[in-house]
Symmetry: C2
Subunit: 273 residues, 2 copies
């Protein structure tokens, strides 16, 4: 295999359940190269992580220096690569010296995994999002408000004085996946298109009447059977019902705070609307 | 195969997605024998239904007479044995002369499938429950109130003057199954025990604050990770959150009507509490 001319100073990795993201950075933290692999941790056993990582970064490594690899995300969970523990909220975002050093066999790398954050009451946990928030706080250290990180498990995080004060997780993305792939709704919402206006209508309806939101789900199937409503409309409504419920819960809890969205463009644009 | 001495006058069948129930009845409608098979329709193609049915009723059939088999449930759906259509609510429960006759090859049976009921707006459908309600109305023809039929897809049905006036479906049972078997919660709720008091607490909490109910789901996982809460408690809470949401929606819509529960003992007792 040919080596690239670019040798990163260090490598940042976000290793989640469904995605593996790798950034090759220079000393100043500028990203030289970026990779996203959609397989994530899958069913990896602890001993398989190093090989998978090396297979994706091999041509960026040099035989002459040890490259630091800093990992955040579910790879630091008990069932992951190595348990990196949790900080306990309220707390600062994790610092380098709190990272767990991982025993590796390839002499070209030195791997550390950052801890997640846990909240004892009401019980909640995050792994990976705390590091995204750390990046956000470097740019805006005085931010006082909510940070919303949409995803498989959306997080709403209250940030104050550079700290994670409290947070709450929603299974919105996972429930959407389960319902659209494995439930009786799968026939009604399959396909690709998306109706933005129906999405917004469903968000509003679920936001205003969250008690009724769960009863709207089967109705999607019935709209398909009885009214032959198009899958593009029904898929947008399903997404809207679930996100509307999430926003309704957060609005009632933290209605006076500014909100910052962190995440992938496509998902954030749904939450903005 | 030996024949039993008992020859039923007719056979009633409720053929749903997950269960097949068969009742052997005498002319007066008394149940002589009852069978429940937990496989349901699964992935049967239309041509496979007759063979499956015969395999379960064969030793109750006589070569000398034609036994009537009356079927309700999802077997009458478009993807089922034969499309038996829908009545449109508000309407009476389906009568025998509205049943679709099915072409069969075994000369010992004559099979008819009862139609379901559809509701155009808000869109909803039922198949099977309308026949349970018909049975209930034979006993209490003057009932004016709600009938709740818990299940994979729970139905809340407003009954008046012997008619199905309107109804609403909740995917409570299916969502419970998906979350406890296929989601990140599966590790937290696996097992068998059940904590009734935690169930009731979760129902109350979801009933009083339905906006927040969807945010309680991931918390079950977090309670497991952070507080090592027992699966017996978490499973009861999951069930309670979902049923509490359902009851909250119905309470806000139909809070002045009497409620009758129809269904299996175990499930009904959860809804009663």
């Amino acid at each position: 295999m040919t080596k690239t001319v670019m040798n990163p100073n260090w490598i940042a990795v976000d290793w989640g359940t469904t995605n593996l993201r790798i950034w090759h950075c220079d000393q100043a933290g500028n990203v030289l190269d970026e990779t996203k692999i959609q397989t994530g941790m899958g069913n990896l056993t602890a001993s398989e992580y190093e090989g998978v990582l090396i297979s994706h970064i091999d041509n960026h490594l040099s035989d002459d220096v040890i490259t630091e690899v800093l990992v955040c995300g579910m790879a630091g969970a008990r069932q992951g690569w190595q348990d990196a523990g949790y900080l306990t909220a309220p707390c600062d975002t994790p610092a380098l010296n709190q990272a767990a050093t991982v025993h590796t066999t390839d002499p070209r790398i030195m791997v550390r995994i950052l801890p997640g954050i846990k909240q004892p009451e009401p019980a909640d946990v995050m792994r990976g999002e705390e590091t995204q928030i750390a990046g956000f706080l470097i740019q805006t250290p005085d931010y006082n408000g909510l940070v919303c990180l949409p995803g498989t498990h959306s997080k709403w995080v209250r940030v104050q004085n550079g700290q994670v004060v409290e947070f709450q997780t929603f299974m919105t993305g996972e429930v959407y996946d389960l319902l659209s792939r494995s439930s009786v709704l799968k026939h009604s919402v399959s396909g690709a298109g998306f109706s933005q206006s129906d999405f917004v209508d469903a968000v509003k309806s679920a936001f205003e009447n969250p008690a009724n939101a769960s009863s709207q789900l089967f109705r999607l199937r019935a709209q398909h059977l009885v009214n032959e409503t198009d899958a593009t409309v029904l898929r947008a409504r399903l997404s809207g019902i679930l996100i509307g419920q999430e926003v309704a819960a957060m609005e009632r809890q933290w209605n006076h705070l500014p909100i910052t969205l962190i995440g992938e463009e496509a998902l954030c644009s749904l939450y903005k609307s």
